[in-house]
């Protein structure tokens, strides 16, 4: 710690703090343009100049100068004022000053500073630029005539996102920010640059001319898409979410968001939202009153009783899931589950058997200090982009060694010095097994206190590094090196995401990853962690609350099979478009077809909803209170920013009505429900809602220690013997099926595609954008081809979000699908 005096105030700060940060700590405001909390010091704009008694004779940039012991700093004087004003005059020489029509007006740092320093006239004259605006892309508008060259966009895209869209180009007066070859932006469209720009040079296009900042009401909530649980600050006006505001004070994400979080919330305002209950009459779904709809549902569920199947998505709040569980009890069924293909088995069975836990063992920020990181599947970035940005910072800033076990290349594999163990599809477990065996053979494994060491040794006989290397196509030395690093560095992390398109070997992957976490000592060690991250915003909550089949009852797959055989009398589906997103479409069609009474509760008339007997209109995340638990066990609060359209109700309110109608007791409010669920949910017992503050509350603490330490034998996969293999997964721009109703993500990726590597594309003479067909055992799918650099020879990729692709006609949960390609 160092002590210094700023404007007469004494302040003690850490020795890594800059003068600017020390001043902030002391409550002294210093103006800045190029400084941002999450970026490295840069010192480009020179408006933060201050006087330091020990450094007389010149002004000192406070944002790049470390605070040192005994420093005496003055942040305002006639001289400082004069110099800052001059800096502003320079900045305004070639600035367009079109404030009346600039969306940044009212929250523009340049506008505010010019006002503060009364830059009424400019002593300098110079050429104004008339650079064309980048209006090519639908989401981010760049107007370089307003740019002050602070470089924040360049830096955030490199330091945080790791994409590198921007650079300073040209020299001297001509310098400007541009992409490679000065083209339109074509990137991840996460909009980090939008959030960083201190002026109106980079703006969110969908928000243009919608509202002045002071007209917006701001409400902090949690993004409704993935398990990352980013804070989104809703900017609302006229009962619509107009935009997502920048907020780096609340939650887990430092103000970072992906395209879904920043541009994907618009589905809540969609005119396609359901606004009234629908009941099937004479084969047609027609609008009905809530009374009629609820009566019908109550009657249907009551008469079906234990032959009811309840399937929910993992985007309902904890409180809603708790109510749903009570509803299942009231109906008298144990057939309750929450995700297609039971993709969560890696956590619920894998981690349960090995660690006695059903959650990640550590929190996201700890990854930033990891020395070695192993990501299983490169799609981890696609499913959890903002956590991916934490990985990028660990690699870029702190020199972590990232290793990716992947069947293709991706964002993670392109990070500096990333080591890619590129394997034939479906063989992730084999590689993890080889790492375990290598650690055991070499005596590097931390076997103390572990059960099943000898059994695992015997079971791994077939998984020598050489044998696995030969079978998977991965370099043996790389497997050894990765295993050694994970076992010997101070802090290590293993990352694995699960979700609907990743149902294959889910239990096995959980087991294998947990075995490795035990042998390397990662599990339960502070600073290290095993992360199993759910695809949806409340996947972890669904597991914590055990939205799983009761003993002896049916899980999702069991329910669908049973329903297909006509054995279920009712199906109640909430927040999930099974026909599109679940594996094995035929199975679901049959289940819906053969079940006499089907209720679907959703935001939209989804493909599944359109087949239902009763459709109940539900509310989006932006319209509800409650909590989500993210993939690091962080319980966070949602706050309603708008009211639901028409007669739509929150799932919570609907469950309340149904429970009451069924004669059961319903929680009276979300807050009451939280108290009730906390009392009966392991890990939540001590948590009360007022403990869930701005940073949420991590149940079980920053590091969760394993309850048991059992090594469990797990079989690897077998490579397909097919020239072309299709792997399915998530596309960065989408999450589940909800984002298909969001204008932002849809404006970038609006239709399904089948991705080809360059080699295959050349061999098959497939051109980008050309229609191709894939024939597989279950049927045939067709979509436009996308030719990219990510895929190795013989491997194709398709995203699972689009119903029109009918991907689940051929995808029934396999790790890879043998396909024939034709045009």
């Amino acid at each position: 710690m160092v002590n210094l005096t700023i404007d007469g105030k004494e302040v003690t700060v850490s020795k890594t703090a800059t003068i600017y940060e020390a001043a902030k700590e002391a409550g002294v405001h210093i103006p800045v343009l190029c400084y941002a909390k999450k970026l490295l010091p840069y010192g480009a704009c020179r408006v933060c100049l201050v006087e330091v008694e020990q450094m007389k004779g010149r002004l000192i940039p406070s944002c790049t100068t470390p605070a040192t012991e005994g420093m005496v700093v003055t942040t305002m004087s006639d001289e400082i004022r004069k110099v800052r004003k001059t800096v502003l005059e320079f900045l305004l020489v070639n600035h367009v000053v079109d404030c009346p029509v600039c969306d940044k007006g009212g929250e523009c740092d340049l506008q505010d500073l010019s006002y503060d320093y009364e830059v009424v006239t400019n002593r300098f004259q110079g050429e104004k630029f008339d650079l064309p605006k980048d209006e090519v892309n639908p989401l981010i508008e760049r107007n370089m005539n307003r740019c002050v060259l602070c470089g924040k966009c360049v830096r955030v895209c490199d330091e945080v996102v790791g994409y590198g869209s921007y650079s300073f180009i040209n020299r001297g007066f001509e310098t400007k920010i541009a992409t490679a070859f000065d083209r339109g932006l074509n990137c991840e469209f996460c909009g980090q640059c939008v959030s960083m720009c201190p002026v109106g040079a980079i703006l969110p296009r969908p928000f243009k001319f919608k509202a002045r900042p002071w007209q917006l009401k701001e409400v902090n909530s949690v993004c409704g898409y993935c398990g990352n649980g980013c804070t989104v600050t809703l900017g609302t006006k006229d009962n619509e979410v107009q935009t997502i505001r920048f907020n780096d004070e609340t939650g887990v994400n430092d103000g970072n968001l992906c395209i879904r979080g920043r541009f994907g919330a618009s589905y809540v305002n969609s005119d396609q939202r359901l606004t009234s209950p629908l009941i099937r009459k004479d084969g047609e779904l027609v609008e009905a009153s809530w009374e009629e709809a609820l009566e019908k549902v109550t009657e249907g569920l009551r008469s079906a009783g234990s032959d009811t199947g309840i399937i929910t998505g993992a985007r309902l709040t904890n409180e809603e899931l708790f109510m749903l569980k009570n509803l299942a009890k009231a109906v008298g069924t144990g057939n309750l589950d929450h995700s297609g293909g039971e993709s969560y088995k890696g956590v619920t069975e894998g981690l349960q058997e090995t660690l006695g836990l059903q959650a990640s063992t550590a929190t996201f920020p700890q990854v930033e200090n990891a020395n070695a990181i192993l990501a299983i599947r490169t799609d981890f970035y696609e499913t959890h982009p903002v956590f991916g940005m934490v990985v990028n910072q660990a690699v870029k800033r702190n020199g972590a060694q990232l290793t990716v076990i992947g069947d293709k290349q991706g964002k993670l594999t392109r990070m500096p010095h990333a080591r890619t163990l590129q394997h034939k599809p479906g063989l992730e477990v084999n590689i993890l097994n080889a790492m375990c065996r290598f650690l055991l053979d070499e005596g590097l494994a931390k076997t103390e206190g572990l059960q099943g060491v000898e059994e695992l040794k015997t079971a791994l006989a077939a998984y020598s590094v050489d044998a696995v290397a030969a079978a998977t196509g991965v370099d043996a030395a790389a497997i050894q090196k990765t295993a050694t690093e994970l076992a010997t560095v101070e802090n290590a992390a293993i990352l694995l995401a699960y979700g609907l398109p990743y149902t294959a070997h889910s239990r096995e992957l959980g087991l294998a990853a947990a075995n490795l976490a035990l042998l390397t000592g990662i599990a339960g060690r502070s600073g290290s962690g095993l992360y199993l991250c759910g695809e949806k915003s409340n996947s972890q909550g669904a597991i914590d609350l055990q939205i799983l089949p009761a003993a002896g009852a049916l899980g999702v797959t069991g329910m669908l099979k049973s329903a297909g055989e006509g054995k279920l009398k009712a199906l109640y589906v909430t927040g999930e478009d099974m026909l599109v997103s679940y594996p094995d479409k035929g199975l679901i069609e049959k289940a819906i077809d053969k079940t006499p009474f089907v209720v679907v509760q959703d935001l939209f008339l989804s493909e599944t909803a359109s087949k239902a007997d009763v459709v109940l209109p539900a509310a989006s995340f932006a319209e509800k209170a409650g909590t989500f638990t993210n993939a690091e066990r962080r319980i966070q609060r949602l706050n309603p920013g708008i009211t639901s359209p028409g007669q739509a109700k929150t799932d919570f309110a609907i469950f309340q009505d149904l429970l009451t109608a069924l004669g059961a007791t319903a929680s009276t409010s979300e807050a009451a429900a939280f108290a009730e669920l906390a009392a009966v949910t392991p890990g939540y017992e001590m948590v009360s809602l007022d403990m869930v503050g701005d940073q949420g509350y991590v149940w079980g603490g920053e590091t969760l220690a394993p309850e048991v330490r059992n090594l469990v034998t797990v079989e690897g996969g077998k490579a397909l013997d097919s020239k072309f293999q299709l792997v399915v997964g998530s596309a960065l721009y989408h999450s589940g099926t909800t984002s298909l109703h969001a204008k932002g993500p849809m404006s970038v990726v609006s239709e399904p595609y089948i991705e080809f590597g360059r080699e295959d594309a050349a061999e098959l003479k497939v051109l980008d954008g050309e229609l191709v067909k894939l024939k597989a055992a279950g049927g045939e799918i067709s979509a436009k081809a996308k030719v990219d650099r990510r895929l190795p020879k013989g491997v194709l990729f398709a995203p699972y979000h689009f119903g029109s692709l009918n991907l689940n006609r051929i995808y029934s949960g396999q790790a890879a699908i043998a396909v024939e390609v034709s045009k």
Binding site: V136, N137, P138, D158, Y163, G164, S165, Y166, S167, F168, I169, N170, R171, A178, T179, A180, F181, D182, R183, G184, L185, N186, C187, R414, P416, S747, V748, V749, S750, R789
Partner: protein, 165 residues
């Protein structure tokens, strides 16, 4: 990636030479400048496809490479002529009629500073001073120097190179 974004229009070129240049420097710290210089040496300019190749192989953003390429005057992003005609515009040459020399070049070949003839034979470059003021007005054509020029002499120089391959 997006339908609305501009499609990259990348010409087909043989990347063997660029790969060889990268192979030579890839393990060196700070390899970007020598790689780009080497590529320009091979191709006469920096073709776009080589930028993407360099970005991929050196794990540097293409945008950063573009920043470097536009910062330094030594790099050229367009194909250049076989013969680079550097017309000295320094003080001595200026006084002794460099303007007329540049004018002659424009009249005969139709190119001014930074332009290249359509047949990719000549590129004009006006430079500040080539350090041969005693020979003013002076030009350089690649490595060859021609001094004490008149319009007539300039014509002869142009003709000489036009006659060559």
């Amino acid at each position: 990636m997006t339908e609305t974004a501009q499609q990259e229009t990348v010409e087909e070129i043989d990347l063997t030479a660029a790969n060889q240049v990268i192979d030579k420097y890839i393990d060196m710290h700070g390899s970007l400048m020598p790689v780009l210089q080497g590529i320009q040496e091979e191709y006469g300019y920096i073709p776009e496809e080589t930028v993407h190749l360099t970005a991929e192989r050196l794990n540097v953003y293409a945008s950063q490479i573009y920043g470097v390429l536009t910062f330094y005057a030594q790099f050229h992003l367009e194909p250049r002529g076989k013969y680079i005609v550097r017309v000295c515009m320094g003080t001595a040459c200026h006084v002794k009629g460099a303007g007329r020399i540049a004018e002659t070049l424009k009249e005969r070949l139709g190119i001014v500073h930074a332009e290249t003839t359509e047949d990719l034979k000549f590129t004009a470059e006006y430079v500040a001073c080539i350090g041969a003021c005693g020979m003013a007005p002076v030009i350089m054509v690649n490595e060859g120097t021609y001094g004490s020029l008149t319009v007539q002499k300039m014509d002869d120089v142009i003709k000489k190179y036009q006659a060559m391959d």
